[in-house]
């Protein structure tokens, strides 16, 4: 058993599942999407990204790329949330909410790809 793989796999899968949890629900309904959940997704995603630093193999590079994409989209979503609620003062209108959720959906896709790569690499190693 490779301990590093366990921790790594844990964070990658946790990032995916949390992201899915946030994404779930009616798209433009603010009561279906919790701000704390978004916060957790971002934190776990960032940890997963850091864990991917330094791997010199080809697959390591692709994994890092997917993680960076997810980070980018999630941070964009959080920034938009903050802007809407605190700076422009428009509040969480259905327009704003659906933009945020669709960004989170993009990040979800990146996380799915990341997990697929992780699983297939493990499978190929066992073949």
């Amino acid at each position: 058993m490779n301990l590093e793989k366990v921790i790594f796999g844990f964070f990658v899968v946790l990032a995916l599942t949390l992201n899915f949890g946030f994404f779930l629900g009616e798209m433009d309904n603010p009561s279906h999407h919790n701000v704390l959940e978004l916060f957790a997704v971002i934190v776990v995603n960032l940890i997963a990204t850091v864990l991917k630093f330094g791997d010199r193999s080809q697959i390591g590079a692709v994994l890092l790329a997917t993680s960076l994409v997810a980070d980018l989209e999630l941070i964009a979503a959080a920034t938009y949330w903050t802007f809407a609620v605190h700076i422009s003062g428009t509040g969480l209108t259905p327009d704003v909410m659906s933009s945020i959720v669709s960004l989170a959906g993009g990040a979800l896709l990146a996380n799915v790809i990341s997990t697929i790569i992780l699983v297939s690499e493990t499978l190929f190693n066992r073949l």
Binding site: L3, F53, G54
Partner: protein, 579 residues
């Protein structure tokens, strides 16, 4: 390449020369028609005579000459213009037909087609970036050889003088590029076009069915490129002497001599014949059944090249032989009984078929060979049989006879050439196994046992590994750091190091030194060459190990190398080697 640019310029030159007439005719007809159209007055609009502009005249001619006919554009024509249009139409359409006819005739010109195919061929050759070989002759031997090379991933350039065979080549589904060219391989220009002087040309293989062409190709190849390896098929001894003196790396492949060597090995080393057949992936070959030719009186039917070689081997082992051949032979030093005549039941009885232990049916006629076999079995059911199969198309018939040894010259030659190219160290290994030294025979048994255990019924893969910077970067990186790599570690399974990979290492070549069956604690050096036999999966896993620093670390230490910065920092902090 000089050769290819010459050909390209030849193509353009031919096209330009042939198209000169039609182009000039078109130009003249167009310009006269356009000038006419511009100067002929049109209809009057608002009391003013309209003239066509040059642009409109050209537009009109464009659709008229090509028989498109959009009508009278931009305005209605006057009758004078219409009259001129009739003339223009007929003349220009005829000119066009003439031009198109010339183009079609040009592309039916064999000379031009040849020049184009030569140009395409040399372009195909130039696209090959990896090491490749030039194969001269694409018959039965070439066909088997190319299949083998394709499986191994080595591109080949083919020259054959038969257009049909080159067309057949283009329809094969090889995994690598195999540009083919129809032409005489013994013409220097063709060899140059095939890339003889290119740095990645590894070898020239002369396997046409003409001995003299083979000799000429070999000599030319040596003259034009002193570095290139030469493999030539030859069945004539006079030529072999010439070939041997060419210098550099020259291999002469004589299928009959090769078979004789294998037969001799089978005589004193029972496992060898099966082992060899299994290694070359002969259909139905297994490691479980050994084939040993019996000692006693043998009958040799057909005293040609094969008869000679087999007789030589048999007499070397003190076996009495009776030869049946239609032609009388002068040299009868090792032959017990020489019967002149065709092999029939009469001559077979005369040769003592009832008391014989073995028979060689080795004429150059497949039907006759099969006939001899059936005839002989009628007299003596327990005969050990060797039969020569000359044509690949008769495969099914020969398989059905269930003889002990089938000798197919094309197959023997192509496999030998293939191994010379992809597993050059196999020769060393065989030489070691067959050396007449005490204990050698017993050494064979554990090797076969291990192969049976590791590979068993799966297809054996003979793999040559070069420990070079490009092909095994992790190993070289490891060696650069001053650390040692042991062969025993490399053969561990990167998925779980307690298990060993399904492979058996045969030979390691380090510098000029060749170590047969190297020990587990052999230290790998840069530029070593390794030959092993294993399963396809073991080859992939071995390649993964020597190219991934993480896998290499694991098989050496049993713990995983930390991949990320965070894990590396933690491991360092905890004073451990890995996770």
């Amino acid at each position: 390449m000089v050769a290819s640019t010459v050909d390209l310029s030849r193509v353009t030159f031919i096209v330009m020369r042939e198209m000169r007439g039609p182009l000039i005719a078109l130009l003249v007809v167009y310009s006269i028609s356009i000038v006419g159209m511009v100067f002929i007055p049109g209809i009057q609009v608002d009391g003013e005579v309209q003239y066509m502009s040059v642009f409109h005249a050209f537009y009109f001619m464009t659709y008229t000459a090509t028989t498109t006919g959009f009508g009278e554009i931009p305005i209605k024509f006057s009758d004078a213009q219409r009259f001129w249009a009739i003339i223009c139409l007929y003349v220009s359409v005829v000119t066009w037909l003439y031009a198109i006819g010339s183009i079609i005739r040009l592309f039916q010109n064999n000379f031009l087609l040849r020049a184009i195919s030569e140009w395409q061929f040399s372009r195909g050759v130039r696209r090959i970036q990896t090491p490749f070989v030039i194969v001269c002759g694409f018959g039965d031997t070439g066909s088997v050889l190319l299949r083998g090379l394709s499986d191994y991933g080595m591109p080949a350039v083919v020259i054959d003088n038969s257009e049909e065979r080159i067309k057949a080549l283009q329809l094969r589904n090889y995994k690598v590029a195999t540009p083919g060219f129809c032409g005489d391989a013994s013409i220097p220009k063709h060899l140059l076009e095939a890339g003889l002087k290119r740095a990645n040309c590894k070898a020239v293989i002369a396997i046409t069915n003409n001995e003299e062409v083979n000799l000429k190709v070999s000599a030319l190849a040596r003259l034009l490129n002193p570095e290139v390896g030469i493999i030539s098929m030859s069945k004539v001894e006079v030529f072999e002497e010439t070939l041997a003196t060419l210098g550099g790396e020259v291999h002469i492949v004589d299928p009959f001599k090769t078979f004789a060597k294998v037969l001799a090995a089978a005589m004193h080393n029972p496992g060898f014949y099966s082992f060899n057949n299994w290694l070359v992936r002969d259909r139905g070959a297994t490691l479980d059944r050994y084939i040993t030719p019996p000692v006693g009186t043998w009958i040799v039917c057909g005293y040609g090249r094969m008869g000679h070689e087999v007789n030589r081997v048999l007499s070397k082992y003190g076996i009495k032989t009776a030869v049946i051949d239609p032609h009388d032979s002068k040299e009868e030093e090792h032959i017990d009984q020489y019967i002149v005549g065709r092999t029939t039941s009469k001559t077979l009885s005369k040769a003592g078929i009832e008391d014989a232990v073995g028979i060689l049916s080795g004429t150059d006629d497949d039907g006759h060979n099969l006939g001899i076999l059936l005839n002989a079995r009628y007299f003596n059911k327990n005969l050990f049989t060797i039969v020569r199969q000359n044509r690949h198309v008769n495969e099914v018939a020969f398989r059905a006879t269930e003889v002990d040894m089938i000798m197919q010259p094309t197959l023997v030659a192509s496999r030998k050439i293939l191994f010379l190219l992809i597993a050059p160290l196999l020769k060393t290994f065989f030489r070691y196994l067959l050396e007449n030294k005490p204990g050698r025979q017993e050494e064979m048994e554990p090797i076969i046992h291990r192969l049976r255990e590791k590979v068993g019924r799966q297809t054996p893969h003979l793999i040559t590994i070069d420990f070079t910077r490009e092909k095994s970067k992790a190993i070289i990186q490891w060696l650069d750091e001053g650390k040692k790599v042991y062969l025993g570690d490399l053969t561990r399974d990167p998925r779980g190091r307690e298990k060993k990979l399904d492979l058996v290492v045969f030979v390691i070549k380090s510098g000029d030194q060749e170590i047969v069956l190297p020990p587990e604690d052999y230290e790998i050096q840069e530029n070593d060459q390794l030959l092993f036999c294993g399963t396809g999966l073991s080859h992939r896993l071995f390649n993964a190990t020597i190219n991934s620093e993480y896998k290499l670390f694991y098989i050496q230490n049993g713990v995983y190398k930390p991949r990320s910065h965070v894990a590396r920092w933690l491991v360092k902090k905890m004073n451990k080697r890995g996770v």
